[in-house]
Symmetry: D2
Subunit: 341 residues, 4 copies
Amino acid sequence: MIGIGVIGYGYWGPNLARCVAETEGCRLTGIADASAPALARAAKRHPGATLHQDWSSLVADPATDAILIATPVGTHHELALAALCAGKHVIVEKPITASSEDAHRLIEEAARRSRVLMVDHTFVYTSAVQKIGEIIARGELGEVFYYDSTRVNLGLFQHDVNVIWDLAVHDLSVLDFLLKEQPLAVSASGAGHIRGRTENMAHLSLFYPSGTVAYLNVNWLAPVKVRQTLIGGSKKMIVWNDLEPSEKVKIYDRGVTLGDGPETVAARISYRSGDMWAPQLSVKEALLTEIEHFVDCIATGREPVTSGASGLRVVETLEAATASLRQRGHPVEIGQMRKVS
Amino acid sequence: MIGIGVIGYGYWGPNLARCVAETEGCRLTGIADASAPALARAAKRHPGATLHQDWSSLVADPATDAILIATPVGTHHELALAALCAGKHVIVEKPITASSEDAHRLIEEAARRSRVLMVDHTFVYTSAVQKIGEIIARGELGEVFYYDSTRVNLGLFQHDVNVIWDLAVHDLSVLDFLLKEQPLAVSASGAGHIRGRTENMAHLSLFYPSGTVAYLNVNWLAPVKVRQTLIGGSKKMIVWNDLEPSEKVKIYDRGVTLGDGPETVAARISYRSGDMWAPQLSVKEALLTEIEHFVDCIATGREPVTSGASGLRVVETLEAATASLRQRGHPVEIGQMRKVS
Amino acid sequence: MIGIGVIGYGYWGPNLARCVAETEGCRLTGIADASAPALARAAKRHPGATLHQDWSSLVADPATDAILIATPVGTHHELALAALCAGKHVIVEKPITASSEDAHRLIEEAARRSRVLMVDHTFVYTSAVQKIGEIIARGELGEVFYYDSTRVNLGLFQHDVNVIWDLAVHDLSVLDFLLKEQPLAVSASGAGHIRGRTENMAHLSLFYPSGTVAYLNVNWLAPVKVRQTLIGGSKKMIVWNDLEPSEKVKIYDRGVTLGDGPETVAARISYRSGDMWAPQLSVKEALLTEIEHFVDCIATGREPVTSGASGLRVVETLEAATASLRQRGHPVEIGQMRKVS
Amino acid sequence: MIGIGVIGYGYWGPNLARCVAETEGCRLTGIADASAPALARAAKRHPGATLHQDWSSLVADPATDAILIATPVGTHHELALAALCAGKHVIVEKPITASSEDAHRLIEEAARRSRVLMVDHTFVYTSAVQKIGEIIARGELGEVFYYDSTRVNLGLFQHDVNVIWDLAVHDLSVLDFLLKEQPLAVSASGAGHIRGRTENMAHLSLFYPSGTVAYLNVNWLAPVKVRQTLIGGSKKMIVWNDLEPSEKVKIYDRGVTLGDGPETVAARISYRSGDMWAPQLSVKEALLTEIEHFVDCIATGREPVTSGASGLRVVETLEAATASLRQRGHPVEIGQMRKVS
């Protein structure tokens, strides 16, 4: 029975604590948060867990084998490093750190101590993304032409990061899982509409070595919530609407076929508009799948699907996107720092 | 009774001919198309109209006071110029010409001969866009922060233009009508997935003098048809979904309010998530409204809402976007040529 | 080239005239309507057709081989009988007549004179209903458990019939096509909310010999338009949403399976919740398919899919439903009159 | 601090327990369930609560002031009576009992002992139903013409009740809250498609003293989940779609107006198709609102909105509907037993 503690009981921490409490093979040992009202809420929900106003006492708790970190991004590196140094396994909420340099250090520390370091890229564990991954891996889409995502809603303006670090990070983690390649470069533009605040809307274009392109539209100041992604392939195409109660993933037998012959290209194009198919998806909560995977990685020593390295790749892209944003869309290459180090 | 002839009876021409036939104050005099099957279809639908395999005989017809041009973009300038020189009033399908230089010449010729020159920016005449225009003009949105449009579907790959000239032109014409200002610069990126063909998907960012930004996502190779535009303002926000059978335009009393006080900006932000309101819209076909407006402009000498000048402004933006596309997103300023000329 | 005339140029007649004008193998010879403005509209659209303020002169026209009737229900019998007696083939708008007795007479007259008598059950010719018919005929649904339809909108209050004769008639014609059996009995309840007018909302339950049940919800006083039908089978189930622009028909691999064994029924039930599949449907207009079928039946002497007999079966059910409505839902058996005659 | 125990930790009990644990002014004292695995799950989620394999020890617990009952319908009467006799306040899951006679006894016992007796008509506490109630109470709809609800999905076949007692009970509880009158009579028809099981689909027509009619379409064997209700009034109309993430309630300024004058009714009818308005709704969970209301009623002695009497009225209607179902739709009057007693 693996003992797991949670640091941070604000927006996301309660979900982590609940899922730990419901998962076989582990138990919730303690919860740390500097806020007294947050701890009071935690006590009401989890009367069996120890409470810590200072996270360091939870990290020092010998009954706790692993630490889940759900605090502001700027604190991830310090907390995770302390937990790893205390010999704990660690899951860090996304993005893994505020800089790729910090992510490197965590990866090294985890490797040195043979601890599991995982980043909470929750979407990777949804049945929708798992199913899309299978479809792409089976080659059903053919060549992946593009990934085009709209992820907009009203709020939440994060205190310490802009909309790219808050929303685009989801798509970047999904892309890291689906495409098995890292983008070469990114071009980003954005706007901030609240005086004194960071960018609340942004558009990113990502260029991959294989020729695939990805476009991300993220916005904290939209009138409605949209979570829709189109994935175009040479054979088939996908619409992933994460707000659909069922039928989140639809595969369309649609596209363009270029025939042979001496005619002009225009004369040889034909459209294929066939059936649509929506696979049945598991309704299991992604976070439960993720916690189970974490427990399994601790038990078996296996590398997590959303390893520290995937967290690093996503942060490198976020850094490049932010740099491009500051240069009004000038394309920025990704991962230079990593190659040097 | 104004006599109107239609040149081009392919995809769009039949709609123009039908609307002319249904409008009071004008009559369909003739139809010209080089294709014999097209003329046969025209004859079946409009047995009262004269048929012309050569457009010049329709332009020369003294019973025809005005010419509607629905032919490939590359031919617009030659046909419209000939019609104007023959003393006809003219509507040209969008985009008005293949270059801003050509648009200039048409505008000059129409002015010299006091003929009505109109561009068929059909969306401007829809009840949805008219209603949005009223709402913005009344100041209900407050400051317009952004216009963010997704206009994607499968096909039609145009023979002579890329996806920007075919689809983004709709949003540019709507923006020209709504914002009453021309963008300063545009950044565009795109991709072509069919070997030997032009770009079939593109993303544009437009920067306006007032600070408004516009984002356009256009794609000929999408699995589903989407026609959704979000318009964000400092007071209210709009969702315009043109595929909704009714309730195409929804106005949301949502946004962010920044309170006064000595606290940090973060502490003074509050979200406003109020009611939604969908005004009843007229179901009248936009093209009928447009033809009536054309007939009225001919009768009264009034300047059309979608004048040659608006056609020119849109073409200038299309030229700049295409230039940016070729430079991988490098921002390009708009309308330099016009200022020089 | 079959000459076809249209009587009635109000709401539906213009669609019939347009489709005749567009169909190969026939031509629109004339249009009759007592209203001068209606004839003026007809003249503008169809300058090649002769115009008749008195329908009898169109029926007498020797260039006209067939007559399409789109007039109020109460006039169908007189007009259709006159046309048949003049040796014309006939399509009558739905419902075929105001009484089953009248429908019998038309069927007899058509048989005596070997003319084609068809009822305009338009929905039968839609690609959606054709596809559903194929799926049921292939046995994919297994045993058909139920057909449950919601067909509601605001208006149109018909002058001479109640909502059952106006809206439920569509579902009855579809059921007649799909199920290949006539209901034994019907129970109907309804309400009229406008003083002095007939019922504007009704609910029908239909009982079939095979055990299939059908439920129809029709309403002229609904805030929104709904056209949704659920069809449940022992193997699969269908959702037919006629307002969807594409994907009108979705087939769900869902249901309940009853296992074998000595346990209670409750213990042997299991749910099957599998994939969904939406077949690509033709976008051809149903009315064009119908007119082509009519022309083909005239040429070949074949029995139309929506023959006079199917029109009669639908009217018999409408009569029984109206009788049940007057008795507050008391079930009424169907087709007694037919069996007697 | 009111101590609350939960009997039954199957499908619904965990929600009750969680909401008790999250509500101010009360605490979760114990959980009873005969199933050992259910108790194990309860222990994991609520380590602070006492566990009882026999419900009578929880009822006898002096630290427990109130009992929530979430067990099969057939056991409600026995459990609730025992709890009331032990001096506890009680919430019973819907329907309150399996017979109106049993409901009478509970009401009498609660009155005799001055205990709060409440039925868990959860929908009444949703922000959607609360808002609809306000709109009707303000007279915005005018005269309520009809309530027309579709509540269908795949499963869950209940072991001890048919689909009316499982699904229609929701609409009956909402109607009891909204209309402030009890139906006079009900006509119901239904069908059972699984051999050896009760009805899995049913259609109910309810007739009210004021002339309002209500139609309920409930089905356990539908391919998709639908939760849509149309409410028609003489002034405005409502669409309540409970599956919409936001905008669950839409108010339409639509209807029919009958003008004055000597013309026929038909000539004086006009349609009104105005704007739509969707009020912002609270996102607070209904069950939390309900538990707070229960705690408040205990503290103040106030009568709950969903009192035992409302539970009785709903059960009387369920009994009449079941009787009508057995007589193939023959209308059955409601509440005879109550009037006699």
